[in-house]
Symmetry: C2
Subunit: 360 residues, 2 copies
DNA sequence: ATGCTCAAGGTAACCGGTGTCATAAATCGC
DNA sequence: GCGATTTATGACACCGGTTACCTTGAGCAT
């Protein structure tokens, strides 16, 4: 594997025998040892069909022996495109970010592509020009856009303009499906609703995320529609809009628990707000789940650290990230990109101890 | 800023007037328009002192007008080194990871360097060879090594061997200080001890992280030494070794709360284990902080989501990341690298509601 | 005036790959 | 059996920068 010294032995032009020993082998080394031109080596690397089987085998043998790996910079320079995938995001939740990164990295593993991360502030006046500079400079191979960056049409337009492939992750299709991974958050909302209905709850409340976010909107829609389908209504006062934050969850929770009749169950748009509701319940002297059931969304680690452990809808963030990145690097390989099985990334309910039968 | 069309106007060799319009300007474009050789442009870019002030100004004017930015790939190819910083880590805590990333990115902002992240499994048999392949392939400019990757001497040796700069982050100096950022975790442990002592606690317990981690060892040492200095002893049974996980915190917490006399305060090596202790206390029917004070370490978001909100030692992870990356890209600029002020990254106690006076 | 030094800048090769096009060898049609 | 394709390969320029080395001219000592 580390027999690189062979290169030195092989070349004898004007350089002392010993020098240039431990240097990574280049395409020239391979070409010389395989007795072909560098162009042919390049063909082998890029799997061109116009190489005789015998030649290919010989070149590959040398490549393997020297442990040659093409230099991504040189390749990128000639290709006019790097082998870097960008992840541009503004989701403030650390666990979301890490899960998504992990999924992308899983897909990239062994592919030769690397991940560059880029947290952004979408409201920054320089956002778009910064993105343009970033993507153009790095000549990104493609970018993954999780929500809510994925919902920024200006950014999508910019990427189209500078011809940078991207995959958007969102609750609903935002454009032709090829460049999207859809998370179907409304089904998660529905799952939460069914769970609460099954436990006999009638007075139910919901705290959504900011409705400017598709995810917030979809989770709420799924929840409300499932309730309505079961003939359970939710008066306006029982549906609040939070900010996806702990603090907003606590504030909305306090407001909801002051209503009469008091809701016996609250579904929140994410786990952060659910933890806020748990605090509010505690301050109001309510027991969970005896007096109040709480259901969150995300199923992040915190869900099991809370008291009581949180019933929540699992969002398969890592899988989604993996699929998105996979799309990007497979490209339009075989006809259309391999379609993913939507079932594999549908949200589903995880029942813990924060939910139970409606109080009598 | 987007006056790139000028390049087309400037060149009139064998190409139709309109073509090659919206292409990023290259060093050749700058050279032509500034009427100098590309080498001189290169000198200006790299701030060579051997350029006449007048020439420099002229070149810079053209650069600004065209919004020229050198291509990192081409530059890297010639430099034999990329402008990519690697972060190699195995810390499983999402918040730690994100905070560290944020710090590094802050330092890199506007510098032209980009961050590549690399979660690893240090026990993987291919760990070292993977790292070697990764670093060599990408020709990384440098890497940041947070704990516990930073404590892997094999990795440090490998990086030395392949001549890749690195900065290690750890609780104690592991080598000559230039390539280290020291977090002085023992001072955090001491701060926790002083807090509990001030509240009159006498029967105190500690759950450390795995002692193979320096951080766990140092936090424990700081804590124990401060207690000892105050004449408060901790019998062996009151000092347990956890795994930095929620589950281990819960298990150790149950064990400690079964001791007689029961500890009135527990200090844990991180917030995760503290959340486990809170669960254990709840199961044991104890009130926090009335019956039991709990102090954690890290001050991650979860600390304020728990009930009661957790008193904990703040670890300035983001700042540490920033300083580490700063070191890397400043290099040995002016004589020795700019020294950081250790005070700026010392851990400190954040008092919330999980700690209080010892029960009478 | 001559020679030397040094600032200022240019030339050409090179970093490690790929694109384009030409060419040699192999296959095919009839 | 010979031109026309097709297959397989090489030569060479190029991607966008940098390094190594050379040239020029001004300033200064001799």
């Amino acid at each position: 594997m580390t027999v690189i010294s062979k290169t030195a032995a092989g070349s004898a032009e004007g350089s002392t025998e010993i020098e240039r020993d431990r240097r990574r082998p280049t395409i020239n080394d391979i070409a010389r040892l395989a007795a072909v031109s560098k162009k042919t080596v390049s063909r082998v690397i890029n799997e061109s069909p116009f190489v005789k089987e015998e030649t290919r085998a010989r070149v590959n043998a040398v490549i393997d022996e020297l442990g040659y790996v093409p230099d991504p910079q040189a390749r990128g320079l000639a290709f006019r495109r790097s082998f870097l995938i960008g992840m541009i995001y503004d989701n403030p939740n650390p666990q979301y970010v890490v899960n998504m990164q992990q999924g992308i990295l899983d897909a990239l593993k062994g592919s030769g592509y690397e991940l560059i991360i880029r947290p952004v502030v979408r409201s920054d006046p320089n956002f778009l020009s910064d993105m343009r500079a970033f993507v153009e400079r790095q000549k990104l191979f493609g970018v993954v856009l999780p929500p809510s960056v994925s919902e920024d049409e200006r950014l999508a337009a910019l990427l189209n303009e500078i011809d940078c492939p991207y995959v958007r992750i969102a609750s609903v299709p935002l454009d032709e499906a090829e460049s999207m991974v859809v998370t179907h958050d409304h089904m998660g909302g529905a799952a939460a609703a069914k769970h609460l209905l099954a436990h006999g709850h009638k007075v139910i409340a919901h705290i959504s995320g900011p409705l400017t976010f598709r995810s917030a909107h979809e989770r709420r829609r799924g929840f409300c529609e499932a309730l309505a389908a079961a003939g359970v209504g939710m008066p306006d006062a029982y549906v609040m809009e939070g900010a996806y934050t702990f603090e907003s969850g606590m504030a909305c929770g306090e407001a909801l628990l002051a209503l009469s009749p008091r809701p016996t169950a609250i579904f929140t748009g994410n786990d952060e707000m659910a933890s806020g509701v748990l605090q509010a319940a505690r301050k109001a002297g309510l027991r969970v789940p005896e007096d109040l059931s709480v259901v969150g969304f995300d199923d992040f680690q915190i869900a099991s650290r809370l008291w009581p452990p949180l019933t929540t809808v699992h969002a398969p963030t890592t899988d989604v990230g993996r699929i998105a990145a996979d799309r990007l690097i497979r490209g339009e390989d075989d006809g259309r990109a391999r379609r993913y099985d939507p079932d594999s990334i549908l949200p589903y309910l995880v029942v813990r101890e924060s939910s139970g039968p409606a109080p009598a």
